[in-house]
C-alpha cells in the first residue's frame, strides 16, 4: 500500500519558530487519521451508540458535545445522531440500525498544546474554551476563518479537525497567529 500524503506535506516544517523566550504553543500534525462516522436513526440511537462504543472499546458512547476514549479509539459525538470514531479503521453496522462512513481522508488533524493553546485558538475560534466550559472530553463544531471545523479537548491537548481542502490555509493562519507565543512545530 502506498503512503498517505497529508494536506500539509511539503509545507510542514518542524522546529521552533516565533518570538524569543518561552515556547507557549505546540502544533503537531497527526498523520494517517482513521475516522469512521457512525450515524443512527432516531429509533436506533441506543443500538448505534452501543455498536460505536464496542468498536472503540469504550463502555458507552458519549452524549452530544462530549467525547470518550476507549481501548481502540475515541468516540466523539459530532451531531445528535452521529458519532465519530477516531483511531478506528473500520466498523460494520446493520443498515437498519445505522450507517457507517469512512471519513479518514476528509479531515486533517492538528494537535494544539501548550499554556497558550487556548489563547491561540480563541484568536480564530469563537468558542468558549474556558475550563469551566470546555474541559477535557468536550467536543464542538464551529468556524475558523470561515471554515467549519471540529474541536475536541483530548487528554493530549486540543485536536482540531479541518476539512482537508482548507487544511493548509487554516494551518498557515494558525501558525502565523502562534508565532507571537513562541511555537514548536512537532
Amino acid at each position: 500500500m502506498v503512503d498517505r500524503i497529508s494536506a500539509l506535506d511539503g509545507h510542514y516544517q518542524s522546529g521552533r519558530f516565533g518570538t524569543d523566550g518561552d515556547t507557549d504553543v505546540g502544533l503537531q500534525l497527526i498523520r494517517d487519521l482513521q475516522l469512521q462516522q457512525v450515524a443512527a436513526w432516531p429509533d436506533t440511537i441506543k443500538k448505534a451508540a452501543d455498536a460505536a462504543a464496542k468498536a472503540a472499546g469504550a463502555d458507552e458512547a458519549p452524549a452530544p458535545g462530549k467525547a470518550i476514549s476507549g481501548e481502540r479509539g475515541a468516540i466523539l459525538r459530532s451531531e445528535p445522531l452521529k458519532w465519530w470514531l477516531v483511531g478506528v479503521d473500520s466498523m460494520q453496522i446493520d443498515s437498519g440500525q445505522g450507517a457507517v462512513l469512512d471519513l479518514s481522508h476528509s479531515r486533517t488533524q492538528i494537535r494544539i498544546t501548550g499554556p497558550k493553546s487556548t489563547t491561540l485558538l480563541n484568536r480564530l475560534l469563537p468558542l468558549d474554551l474556558r475550563d469551566t466550559n470546555f474541559r477535557e472530553g468536550a467536543v464542538a463544531s464551529s468556524a475558523m476563518h470561515h471554515v467549519g471545523v471540529t474541536l475536541w479537548h483530548s487528554a493530549s491537548g486540543y485536536e482540531l479537525f479541518i476539512p482537508r481542502g482548507f487544511a493548509l490555509s487554516i494551518w498557515e493562519i494558525l501558525f502565523e497567529s502562534a508565532l507571537q507565543f513562541g511555537v514548536e512545530v512537532v
Binding site: I5, A99, G165
Partner: protein, 996 residues
C-alpha cells in the same frame, strides 16, 4: 507664558528621558507622559488647525474627546492621522507632526478661511451644489466639478499614508462572566466585588494605567487607594486589559474591543500585531465608562490655552504640567473647585468664575484657603489672543441673560460646563438616554438587558458614591449568575453640594462672537441658529446639516450644547428636542483592525485539491473556482492560454486527457430510504437504478426552476454517491439536510459531504480505457462489456489504492471519473500520468474542460443560474410525468411552459473568423436594444468545429431561429456580431464517441 513642567509631582518618571520629535523638532518627555502633556511641557501651544476655518488649536482635553490636539503620528507607510495627542502614550522615537496646515500648524496660510468665515457657515458645502450665482442659477452645477477639489483641499483633517500598511492585525475572541468597561473608582470596585463573589471578570481600560479619575487626583490617600485596588484586582484574578477601548455593544452581551498592542512601543516584537480586534461574549456587563466634562460656548472658546477643567487637573496632577501661570477657571458646578485648588497649590495664580449666584460653602472655603480668587455670577465672554490666550473678557448675570463686564489677564482658561455621563455603549443597545434636568445631563437607564451603568456614567459625581455604585453593580451581576452577594442601598444620583446652573452659551447683546459648539467640525452656535432659521427642526436633520457631532469624536464635545441651543431656538425644553443616537464605534477603529488577518493570501481561505502540488509541479497555471484553486491550463514552453487549451482539447479528443475534478461536490446518501429520498429530489426516476450503475439527474427547487445537476452512483442497496456541480455543492448539501430535517423526518436517510474524502480525476478520450486498464490491479474490470456507459465499479489501483470509477463523460468522449481517498491523490496521478503520456495524452485544465463541454452542450452553473427551467435547459425529457418530485407542481405554471421562453442553444458567428463574448445579449437583427431575445453564457474556440462557438439562451430555442440571423450585442466591449443559432449539441450529437 505657556504651560510648564513642574519640578515634582505627577505619575511620570523624571529619572528617565524619552526623546521624540514634533514637526521635525527634537523634544523630550518622561515615561508616563502622553504626547499632549509632553508637548505642553515643551512649551508648544498650537498643535493643530481646525477642520474648516484653520483656527489655531491647542490641547483642549486629556482624553478621547480631544478636538484640538489632533496630530499625525508616524511617517511613511506608518503615517497615522487624527491621533488625539492626549491618548497617545509617549515613547522613545515617536514622531508626530501637525496636520491640515501649510506650511505648519504654527503658521498656516489656510487661516485665511477664518477671515472668510461668514461665507463658510453651516450648509456652505451643500449650497455649492447649486452652482455659482447668478451664472448657474437653475442650471445645475457645471463649475462644481472644477472647484469641488479646491473646497475639499481647503478643509479636512490628517492624511492617511498612500502606502500599503506594513503592520499586521488580528482578531480575538474571549468569554467572561462579567465585562467591566472602565477602571475608575466604580469600575475597579465593581470588578473586585464580582470577582470576590466568584465571577470570571474582565476589566477593560482604554488608558495605559488603571485608575480613571484616581489618576488625576493629588495626595497620597487617593494614590494609595488606587494602588490597593489594583493589587486587589490582581489578587482576585480579574483579567485586566489596558490600552483597550470597548467601542461597541451588540446583541447577547457581545462587546467589540480594540486593543492597541504595540502603538506605544518603539521596537515592538515583530510577531505581535499592531492592534487586536476583540469579540467578547459576556454574561453580564457593567459600564463604568465615566463622564466627559462639557465646555461652554463663549467667544473664541477654542483658543490654545482653553481646555476643560478636568483636563487641567489631570495635567497638573498626573503629568506634572502646569497649564498656565495665571489661570481662570470658569464653572457652573462644584467639580471645577478641586481643579482650581490643585492648580493654586501647584503655584498658579487662579481666579475661579462661578456662574452661580452663591458658592458651595466648604469647597469655596478650601479654594479660598488655597489662594483662589472667587467670583460669583460671572462667566467667560471671549478669550483674547490668537495663538495663545492672553486674557479673558468676562460677563455677568443680567436678568435672564448676561452682559459684558470687565476682563481678566490670564494665560489659561479652564472650563467646566457640567458633565455628560458616557452613555454611548448603552445607547448602542437601542436605549434612548433621558434628560435629567437636575444634573443637566442625559442618563441611561441604570439597567437594560444584562447591562448596568455604574459610577459617574450613571450620574454619581462623588468618588465615594461611584465606588458604592460599582460595588452594588458588581453584586447585582454576581447575584444574576447565582452567586451570593450583598444588596446595597445607593445614594441618590448626583451629589454636588450646590446644584449646577445650566449654562451652554454666553451671548451678550450687540457683540458678535465665534462660539464653537463642536470644535472638531468647526460648528458654531451661530450655525445652529442658522440651521433653525433655514427650517431644520429635527435634531437628526440639524446634525446632518451642520455636521454637529459627525467628526471623529462623535459628538462627545458638542452634542449637548447643540441640543440646548436648538431647544432654545425652538422655544422648547431639551427633552422635547430629543437626543442623537450614539452608534458604534465609541472611538475610531482602524480598517486594519477590522480586517485582522484576512488580507493578502488570507483574504479568504484557499481550498486546495489533494492534487494541488502535483498539478503545480506538472506545469499548471491555476485559477479560482469559488474558493477552490483549480488548474486552468498546462502550458508547454511558451504557449499562450489559448494555444494551451486548444492543444489540450484536441489531444483529449484524439488520445486521452487527465483533469483534476476533485472540486465537484460529493455527497454520501445512506440509509434504507435512500432510494425513495433520491426519487423525490430528482426529476427522473431513481427507484430502479441498479447497484453498480450511475444516473444523471436534475433536481429542481420548490418553485420549479433547476437547482443543480449531477450523477448519482448506486454503491449498494442502501448507499449512493452523489456528485454535484462545483458551484452548487454547498447549496445542495444544505438543501438535502433541510428536506430531511424539516419535511421528511420519517425517512431513514443520512447525507454527509464527502467532497473532501475523495479526490477525483477525469480520464477522457479514446485512449482512456487503455490508460485506466494499465493502472488498475485487475485490468478485466475495464472491459467494455463489463463496464458499460454509466457503469460504476469499486476496485483498486496498483499499489492497493482503493478507488471507485464511473464511466461518465462531461467531455463527450469515452471517459471515466476516477475517485480515490484524498491522501492517495498524488499516488493516483503518478500512476495515471505516465500511462497517459505514453498514449500521447495530456493534462488539461478548466479552460479545455469548458471548451469541450460547450462543444457538447453540457450545462454548468453558468447556465443553471436560477432562472432556467428543465425545459429551458433542453432536458425536459428527464422530468418524469409518472411521479411527484420537488418542483413538479410549480414547474407547470403557465409562465414556465411558454413556448417563447429562452432555451439552451449553440451559437456560431456568421462570419466564422469572428468571435463574441460571454455576457453578450442576443437580439434580433431589427431590434438591437433593450433586454434582447437571449444571452450568451459561455464561449470558446472549438477545435472540433474550427471556429468560435458559444452556448446560451434565446427565445424559442434554436428551431425558432433556423435560417435567421441574430445579433450578439456587446456595446461596451466588442460591439455587434452577427451570429447563427444552432442546436446546443455541437459535437457528436448522437453520442457515439461517449458510448464507444
Amino acid at each position: 507664558m505657556s504651560a510648564r513642567r513642574l519640578p515634582s509631582g505627577g505619575r511620570i518618571d523624571r529619572s528617565q528621558v524619552i526623546r521624540f520629535t514634533w514637526d521635525d523638532r527634537a523634544m523630550s518627555g518622561h515615561p508616563g507622559d502622553s504626547l499632549a502633556s509632553a508637548l505642553m511641557a515643551n512649551g508648544e501651544q498650537v498643535l493643530g488647525r481646525s477642520f474648516k476655518y484653520h483656527r489655531p488649536r491647542g490641547v483642549m482635553s486629556a482624553g478621547v474627546e480631544e478636538s484640538g490636539a489632533m496630530v499625525t503620528v508616524g511617517e511613511g507607510a506608518r503615517q497615522d492621522p487624527n491621533v488625539k495627542a492626549p491618548m497617545q502614550e509617549l515613547f522613545n522615537g515617536l514622531t508626530a507632526t501637525g496636520q491640515n496646515a501649510w506650511p505648519n500648524v504654527r503658521f498656516d496660510f489656510g487661516e485665511v478661511n477664518d477671515m472668510l468665515g461668514r461665507f463658510l457657515v453651516a450648509g456652505f458645502y451643500y449650497k455649492t451644489f447649486m452652482g455659482i450665482p447668478p451664472f448657474e442659477w437653475g442650471k445645475g452645477t457645471g463649475a462644481w466639478m472644477w472647484y469641488e477639489k479646491f473646497i475639499r483641499k481647503a478643509a479636512g483633517m490628517g492624511s492617511a499614508s498612500r502606502e500599503a500598511d506594513p503592520d499586521h492585525y488580528e482578531h480575538g475572541h474571549d468569554f467572561c462572566d462579567l465585562l467591566v468597561v472602565g477602571s475608575g473608582p466604580a469600575g475597579m470596585s465593581s470588578a473586585l466585588a464580582a470577582a470576590e463573589a466568584g465571577l470570571d471578570v474582565m476589566l477593560i481600560e482604554q488608558d495605559w494605567e488603571l485608575g480613571g479619575s484616581f489618576l488625576s487626583q493629588t495626595g497620597s490617600e487617593s494614590k494609595n487607594r488606587c494602588a490597593d485596588m489594583v493589587a486587589s484586582l490582581n489578587n482576585a484574578g480579574v483579567r485586566i486589559m489596558l490600552r483597550t477601548t470597548a467601542f461597541g455593544l451588540y446583541d447577547y452581551g457581545v462587546a467589540g474591543l480594540l486593543e492597541r498592542v504595540t502603538d506605544h512601543l518603539q521596537n515592538p516584537d515583530r510577531y505581535q500585531p499592531r492592534q487586536r480586534f476583540w469579540n467578547i461574549r459576556a454574561k453580564q456587563t457593567i459600564l463604568a465608562s465615566g463622564a466627559l466634562e462639557r465646555h461652554i460656548a463663549f467667544g473664541n472658546n477654542d483658543r490654545p490655552g482653553v481646555m476643560n477643567a478636568a483636563a487641567g487637573r489631570a495635567y497638573v496632577n498626573r503629568y506634572g504640567v502646569l497649564p498656565g501661570e495665571r489661570v481662570v477657571v470658569a464653572t457652573n458646578n462644584d467639580s471645577a473647585y478641586k481643579c482650581a485648588i490643585d492648580l493654586a497649590c501647584a503655584g498658579a495664580d487662579v481666579t475661579l468664575l462661578d456662574a452661580r449666584s452663591t458658592l458651595p460653602g466648604e469647597l469655596a472655603e478650601q479654594a479660598g484657603e488655597a489662594g483662589v480668587s472667587l467670583r460669583t455670577n460671572t462667566v467667560p465672554l471671549k478669550a483674547k489672543g490668537r495663538s495663545s490666550v492672553n486674557g479673558l473678557e468676562l460677563a455677568v448675570v443680567s436678568g435672564s441673560g448676561w452682559r459684558a463686564r470687565g476682563a481678566e489677564s490670564c494665560d489659561a482658561v479652564l472650563v467646566s460646563g457640567g458633565w455628560s455621563p458616557v452613555v454611548h455603549l448603552m445607547s448602542h443597545r437601542g436605549v434612548k438616554p433621558k434628560w435629567d434636568s437636575e444634573n443637566a445631563c442625559f442618563l441611561a437607564p441604570s439597567r437594560h438587558e444584562t447591562i448596568q451603568m455604574a459610577g459617574s456614567a450613571a450620574g454619581y459625581w462623588r468618588a465615594a458614591d461611584c465606588e458604592l455604585s460599582g460595588i452594588a453593580a458588581g453584586s447585582v451581576a454576581a447575584s444574576a449568575l447565582g452567586k451570593k452577594a450583598k444588596t446595597l442601598v445607593l445614594p441618590p444620583i448626583g451629589g454636588w453640594d450646590l446644584a449646577i446652573k445650566p449654562v451652554y452659551e454666553i451671548r451678550v447683546p450687540g457683540k458678535k462672537l465665534k462660539c464653537l459648539v463642536d470644535p472638531q467640525h468647526d460648528v458654531t452656535a451661530e450655525d445652529i441658529r442658522l440651521a433653525h432659521r433655514e427650517g431644520f427642526v429635527s435634531v437628526e436633520h440639524l446634525k446632518r446639516y451642520t455636521t454637529l457631532g459627525m467628526a471623529t469624536d462623535g459628538g462627545k464635545m458638542g452634542n449637548v450644547i447643540g441640543l440646548a441651543l436648538m431647544a432654545e431656538a425652538l422655544g422648547r425644553e431639551i427633552p422635547e428636542v430629543g437626543t442623537t443616537t450614539f452608534r458604534p464605534p465609541y472611538t475610531p477603529v482602524s480598517i486594519g483592525a477590522l480586517r485582522g488577518r484576512s488580507v493578502d493570501k488570507h483574504f479568504r481561505p484557499l481550498r486546495r485539491t489533494p492534487m494541488h502540488d502535483w498539478n503545480l509541479s506538472h506545469g499548471a497555471t491555476m485559477t479560482m473556482a469559488g474558493l477552490w484553486h483549480r488548474p486552468w491550463y498546462f502550458a508547454r514552453l511558451s504557449e499562450t492560454i489559448s494555444e494551451a487549451y486548444v492543444r489540450e482539447t484536441e489531444t483529449t479528443r484524439k488520445t486521452v486527457g487527465l483533469c483534476d475534478v476533485t472540486s465537484l461536490g460529493k455527497i454520501a446518501v445512506q440509509g434504507p430510504d435512500a432510494t425513495e429520498f433520491l426519487n423525490r429530489i430528482y426529476t427522473n426516476p431513481f427507484a430502479k437504478l441498479p447497484i453498480g450503475k450511475a444516473r444523471y439527474g436534475i433536481m429542481l427547487r420548490d418553485d420549479g426552476f433547476v437547482m443543480d445537476d449531477g450523477t448519482t452512483w448506486r454503491l449498494s442497496e442502501t448507499e449512493y454517491f452523489m456528485t454535484t456541480t462545483t458551484a452548487h455543492a454547498g447549496k445542495v448539501m444544505v438543501w438535502l439536510e433541510e428536506l430531511l430535517q424539516t419535511r421528511w423526518q420519517d425517512l431513514k436517510v443520512h447525507v454527509t459531504s464527502v467532497s473532501e474524502q475523495w479526490a477525483g480525476c477525469a480520464v477522457a478520450g479514446p485512449e482512456s480505457r487503455k490508460v485506466l486498464a494499465a493502472c488498475v490491479e485487475d485490468a478485466s474490470v475495464m472491459d467494455n462489456e463489463a463496464f458499460p456507459f454509466m457503469g460504476v465499479i469499486e476496485t483498486k489501483l496498483q499499489g492497493g489504492i482503493p478507488c471507485r470509477i464511473a464511466r461518465i463523460s462531461f467531455s463527450g468522449e469515452l471517459a471515466y471519473e476516477t475517485y480515490v481517498p484524498s491522501d492517495y491523490a498524488a499516488a493516483m496521478m503518478d500512476l495515471l500520468w505516465p500511462k497517459a503520456e505514453q498514449s500521447g495524452g495530456c493534462l488539461y485544465g478548466l479552460e479545455a474542460l469548458g471548451a469541450m463541454r460547450i462543444e457538447k452542450g453540457h450545462v454548468t452553473g453558468a447556465e443553471l443560474d436560477g432562472r432556467v427551467t428543465i425545459e429551458d435547459a433542453g432536458l425536459g425529457k428527464m422530468a418524469s410525468p409518472k411521479k411527484s418530485f420537488i418542483g413538479s407542481a410549480l414547474r407547470s405554471r403557465p409562465d414556465m411552459t411558454r413556448e417563447d421562453r429562452p432555451k439552451l442553444v449553440g451559437i456560431f458567428p456568421k462570419d466564422r473568423s469572428q468571435t463574441f463574448n460571454a455576457g453578450a445579449i442576443l437580439c434580433s437583427v431589427d431590434q438591437v436594444s433593450g433586454l434582447g431575445e437571449g444571452w450568451i453564457t459561455g464561449v470558446t474556440h472549438s477545435p472540433a468545429k474550427g471556429h468560435w462557438i458559444g452556448i446560451g439562451f434565446i427565445s424559442g430555442g434554436h428551431q425558432a431561429w433556423a435560417e435567421k440571423t441574430a445579433i450578439a450585442a456587446d456595446p461596451v466591449r466588442k460591439g455587434d456580431v452577427e451570429v447563427e443559432i444552432v442546436s446546443p449539441h455541437m459535437y457528436d450529437p448522437s453520442g457515439e464517441k461517449m458510448y464507444g
